[in-house]
Symmetry: C2
Subunit: 339 residues, 2 copies
């Protein structure tokens, strides 16, 4: 077979916003699996904001991608060759590695998925890392209770859409925040949030109107001005689940510095007994994946969990799509259909 591998490499570390020249697209030979490994052909590649951190030199919670190495990412696809028990050519799997057509991965990192249960790409979103992130963050930190008010930033994004739907399933009043009327319409009409506020408008006034009673749970995907508007509205015993601060990832010094802009005065944390907590799903999330998947598939089968994907065609378009993701240009979970 004359096929080649197609790969997107990190050519240089971005200064501020990534540009296409920070990436390099190359064709290379298809790798071969060793004992215990599996060769996966990607059907879809997941693009996620955390990847901006891996492009920076500074050590964050995970090592940076080395210059000249393939960009980090997860794919879902099909087994082409296997030297590991339990995987055979034709199996559909999640857990392929990198912005590339073919990857060789250890069997331990692969999950066999049933293409009858859900579309392959869903394993990168609602059933994948973003969905697990939503589930774990709410279970461990957000702990939403019936009748509480939850606010979700980046509400139409990969994580936000799942967070808000779980909030509704838990009996909360759920307010989304998104960019523009189209996303907001989707958040209320399709995802079933109680309201969605456009952060391009006067967020203070919209929050006053949407949740005059205050906020019990805030899911933070964004930081910056959205955080500043939400923070003073916490009720006693409010929880701020810090999943990401995408507005800060493109600061000049790279994702690790998170900019110098100050945050809220923390005095009210005492008076209101707030809990502000960050988490990374890879710390303790994956051992809980089977329980998560079972619950999500149940909700999906009942029609109580819907999702939206933004599918970009072709791996060569991944850099531009990723650049757009950091600017909020995607609409729903961003995946690349790998050619």
């Amino acid at each position: 077979m004359a096929e080649t591998n197609l790969q997107v490499l990190l050519r240089r570390r971005p200064k501020g916003e990534p540009v296409p020249e920070d990436f390099e697209i190359v064709e290379t030979p298809v790798p071969e699996p060793k004992e215990g490994e599996v060769l996966v052909r990607a059907g879809y590649l997941s693009l996620d904001p955390y990847m901006r951190g891996r492009m920076a030199e500074a050590k964050s919670y995970a090592k940076p991608v080395e210059l000249g190495a393939v960009m980090e990412g997860r794919t879902a696809g099909e087994v082409v060759a296997s030297r590991a028990p339990g995987f055979a050519p034709g199996d559909t799997v999640a857990g392929g590695y990198g912005w590339q057509r073919f990857s060789v991965v250890k069997a331990a990192g692969l999950i066999k998925v049933d293409s009858q249960e859900a579309p392959l790409s869903a394993n990168l979103g609602v059933l994948g890392m973003p969905g697990l992130t939503a589930w774990v963050g709410l279970e461990d930190i957000g702990t939403p209770k019936p009748g509480e008010t939850m606010v979700v930033s980046a509400a139409s994004g990969a994580v936000g859409q799942v967070v808000g739907q779980i909030g509704k399933l838990r009996g909360c009043k759920v307010i989304g925040i998104a960019g523009g009327p189209e996303k907001c319409r989707y958040v209320t009409e399709e995802l079933g949030f109680d309201a969605c506020l456009d952060h391009r408008g006067d967020l203070d006034a919209q929050l006053d109107a949407a949740c005059p009673e205050g906020i019990d749970v805030y899911w933070e995907n964004v930081g910056g001005a959205v955080q500043a508007a939400v923070f003073p509205r916490f009720r006693d015993f409010g929880r701020m689940v810090m999943c990401g601060v995408i507005s800060q990832y493109n600061v000049a010094e790279g994702a690790d510095s998170f900019g110098g802009a100050p945050g809220p005065n923390l005095g009210p944390v005492v008076r209101k007994r707030l809990r502000i907590q960050g988490f990374i799903v890879s710390d303790n999330g994956w051992p809980r994946y089977p329980a998560f998947r079972k619950q999500m598939l149940g909700w999906m089968a009942e029609g109580r969990m819907v999702w939206k994907e933004d599918v970009v065609q072709g791996l060569r378009n991944a850099p531009q799509a990723f650049i757009g993701l950091l600017k909020g240009r995607n609409f729903g979970k961003l995946v690349v259909q790998v050619d």
Copy 2:
């Protein structure tokens, strides 16, 4: 008996720092207990920073003291008359109410204390609300583990001195922060902290030297510049136990506004998986008082828990002592010996 009650009332709400004219000292008749109540003569009155919040009009986690009412506080003293089973004249008790010589309180709020076990005044400090605050905050939020580095602000204060000693008992390296060489010497030599930093000096340089490995647990009593110096030094999975922000209590608008000064950028909360949490001991602390008291008495008997009190003579001096407390002029747990 010709005795009268001596009371300190709230005459007016302070603007910024309280001044003596905000208080009024009056003599009134000794009150009489009704059925189920006990008349307590105070031996000691506890003065604590939270009282600044009660002087402000704004609702905080508890109702403000009304103008003309006796200032809120807890006393330890002796039962003078009782109409409640279980309490008899001569019993020593903690739980008397207010800045006053005599108080009538419901029996349910009183704790009988053994004057052989500890000095009466200790029931307002190391064995009282401040000690319980330290114990609960570390148990629920700080969760110190052997080998971790703990930083304690207001280290020689009522809560801080207990926090740091528990940290040492839990196997932590403990760094105090206090104001001036005398307090710092006490913190290291008497309380046994590993180091104590003077916040009047260059706190950044001192923190660099004292904990180059970073900080796992920060006990926040202070806010402001101390918080700003500590915050960037958190290690992954660090915990910030927010007990108070005394540097902000005297802002012009009263304790509830907590000033407008911004806080730290919260981006690192995600990357480092930090937990920032506020608490108030009265939320869930008192049901655990017996377990706390037993443990503290054990440590005290073994000489592993020491404490320092700053005893002011005479109730008429309580306003000036409280004004000094908010400026850090006390040295150790501040109590008034009630005449």
